[in-house]
């Protein structure tokens, strides 16, 4: 394989048989090109679908406090645990890298709100800006609570769609003042929530405003956060369970709660709901892998076919070489050496063209269901290697048969 003489012989055969080389190379290159594009589109489709169903992927975790159930370190049961802002800070400090969206929440279950002559009783919540994503709240009008509201204690509120419908009817609520528990707030946005009426009968303001205006000090009712999407449901489940047990241990230690106490700190996890989404993306992946494998198979068959034709075409040459003293293995080596070289070079050319196309044309495609088509370089390169190896194996048999033909028969071939 590595003798210079053989390489020279192969290069001569390649350069003197340009059409044959071109045809072989062309079919291998287009095969790989199509495969790369297909895998790229598959990946794009997966991305697109993921974007569409993103919210379902969220694995939301909420932490609530309650009353201690068991005696611990001399403290009697029945003690109420209260979260403070520092519990949120602790969460961010210890798990900030592992979580995606996060917010602490202060809540007043019922608050009377009125505008002009209309009024209603709604849930009041003080939240952080990420809360929009935790709740999947979509803005119909205006904006959500932002950092500035939090830092400057602004009396801005965002109201649910039901609140708007009841208080404002057809009037535009933006910029209007509503009275909540006898204090005026300015409406800066209206949201809708996939949760429906119940979730839309809420009035939201920044946590800092809420704590100050309603005299809650540093108190918070719960911690909510989401974990980022993972490769598979199993990984997501594992990670979320690991995080939950660490978090629980940490909070229990901080509030002097017994490790076996089940009622003082409650953590609820929505991961089971995200299983459907993981199944969907897994199925899309599987589908494109099957298509990819099928086209790889087609490519292998194509390469084998070409190899067969090449050997057939070279039968007479093989006869001449054998008459001049070529040994069977040298014939096999010569044919395979040339074909592996040609398939490898053209395979990589197809690969590079495909990657370049995906790189430059890919970002231009952004329909609803295809976004950012791309292909992993490792996958692409291993398909090329598989194709080359398969071509070599497929080529070996015709080459071997060619080498076995009696020279006298090979020479008779016209």
């Amino acid at each position: 394989m590595f003798s210079l003489e053989r390489w020279l012989e192969v290069f001569e055969a390649i350069s003197k048989n340009k059409l044959r080389t071109f045809l072989t190379g062309f079919s291998v290159a287009t095969g790989i090109l199509i495969l790369v594009l297909l895998l790229g589109v598959g990946e794009g489709m997966k991305n697109g679908v993921e974007e569409q169903f993103q919210q379902d992927a969220t694995n939301r975790i909420s932490v609530y406090t309650g009353v201690t159930g068991v005696e611990y370190k001399g403290l009697n049961p029945g003690r109420r645990i209260q979260f403070k802002n520092q519990d949120y800070d602790l969460l961010v400090k210890n798990f900030g890298d592992e979580i995606e969206y996060k917010s602490s929440v202060y809540r007043i279950w019922t608050g009377l709100a009125s505008y002009k002559d209309k009024s209603g009783s709604y849930r009041l919540e003080g939240v952080l800006p990420d809360y929009q994503f935790l709740e999947n709240a979509g803005m119909i009008q205006g904006r959500f609570i932002n950092e500035e509201d939090q830092e400057a204690f602004t009396k801005n509120v965002v109201i649910g769609k039901k609140v708007r419908d009841e208080l404002f009817e057809d009037e535009n609520p933006l910029g209007k003042l509503i009275e909540v528990r006898d204090i005026n707030f300015k409406v800066v946005g209206v949201f809708q929530d996939p949760g429906g009426d119940r979730e839309e009968s809420k009035v939201l303001m920044s946590l800092a405003t809420m704590q100050r205006v309603f005299g809650a000090g540093q108190d918070i009712r719960n911690l909510s956060f989401t974990l980022p999407k993972e490769e598979s449901f199993d990984i997501a489940l594992k990670k979320s369970n690991a995080l939950i047990s660490k978090l629980e241990a940490m909070l229990k230690a901080k509030h002097t709660v017994s490790p076996i106490d089940n009622s003082a700190i409650n953590i609820s996890n929505s991961i089971e709901n995200s299983k459907r989404f993981y199944d969907l993306t897994a199925n899309i992946k599987l589908f494109f892998w099957l298509i990819g494998l099928a086209s790889l198979l087609a490519g292998i068959i194509g390469v084998s076919n070409i190899m067969l034709i090449i050997v057939k075409e070279r039968t007479k040459e093989i006869g001449i070489r054998k008459a001049l003293g070529a040994k069977p293995m040298s014939i096999v080596g010569m044919v395979l050496h040339e074909s592996i070289f040609v398939t490898a070079v053209s395979g990589f050319m197809g690969l590079i063209i495909g990657l370049v196309l995906l790189e430059f044309v890919g970002p231009m495609i952004n329909t609803e269901f295809i976004s950012n088509p791309e292909v992993s370089f490792n996958i692409a390169i291993s398909t090329v290697i598989v194709l080359v190896i398969a071509g070599a194996i497929a080529g070996f048999f015709p080459a071997w048969r060619g080498a076995k033909i009696k020279p006298i028969n090979a020479l008779r071939e016209e």
Binding site: K16, R321, G325, P328, A403
Partner: protein, 233 residues
């Protein structure tokens, strides 16, 4: 140089068996120029193929330069062909994508001689057949006679013990044929053993001995007075 005893060969065609060679006894000394003659179907090509180790006999013995040729594996046959034999074919059998020089150098490639020396030796044989100026040309740029000269140079390049020529003038006009035969005679005069299969009388008479084959047996084997090809040109 060549010693053949009681050689038999038959081919299976469907259910019938065709007995082509029916006990050939035949020997060639070093430096001889022998014509094997016979009409088509007489078995002369089969005999040549067996001599050339391109085909194997069913029965009988074959010694080449004192080495018994039997039960050859592909590998040893290739080795013997490379070392002992040079072939010249009616249809030239040059590799069409290789230049004249590269064609001549090919047997040396299979003798594992390095490229530089291959090219030098091949060039000297091309000079010998008078085609040094055509070294870089491809076979399809050469006339029939030139192609056969290249083939002769190639047959000589491996420095074989015996040259086997199968109807080497079969595809050439008579003037060119005589030129080629003249070259063969010159090579033979230098001491090379050459066997020529032909069905043409005039070509046969340019050798030193004619072996006549009919229906798979030798019916006649005699030395003849060599006609110098040059006289006919």
């Amino acid at each position: 140089m060549i010693e053949i005893k009681d050689l038999h060969k038959s081919y299976k065609i469907g259910k019938n068996s065709l007995h082509v060679l029916k006990g050939i006894n035949f020997s060639v000394e070093e430096g001889e120029l022998v014509a094997i003659m016979g009409s088509s179907g007489s078995g002369k090509s089969t005999l040549l193929n067996i001599l050339g180790m391109l085909d194997e006999a069913d029965l009988g013995t074959y010694h080449l330069d004192g080495v018994e040729i039997k039960n050859l594996t592909e590998k040893t046959a290739a080795n013997y062909r490379n070392k002992f034999l040079g072939f010249i074919f009616q249809s030239f059998n040059l590799i069409n994508y290789k230049s004249a020089l590269d064609n001549v150098a090919l047997p040396l490639y299979y003798q594992n001689i390095n490229r530089k020396e291959r090219m030098e030796r091949a060039m000297s044989y091309l000079e010998k057949v008078g085609l040094a100026d055509w070294a870089k040309h491809l076979p399809n740029e050469l006339s029939g006679g030139q192609k056969q000269r290249v083939a002769i140079a190639r047959a000589l390049a491996g420095q074989p013990k015996v040259i086997l020529a199968d109807e080497l003038t079969g595809a050439l006009d008579s003037t060119t044929s005589y030129e080629i035969m003249n070259l063969i005679q010159e090579i033979n005069d230098e001491g090379k053993t050459i066997l020529v299969v032909t069905h043409e009388d005039d070509i046969a008479h340019m050798t030193k001995r004619i072996v006549n084959l009919k229906d798979g047996v030798i019916i006649d084997d005699r030395k003849v007075k060599q006609v110098k090809a040059l006289e006919n040109v």
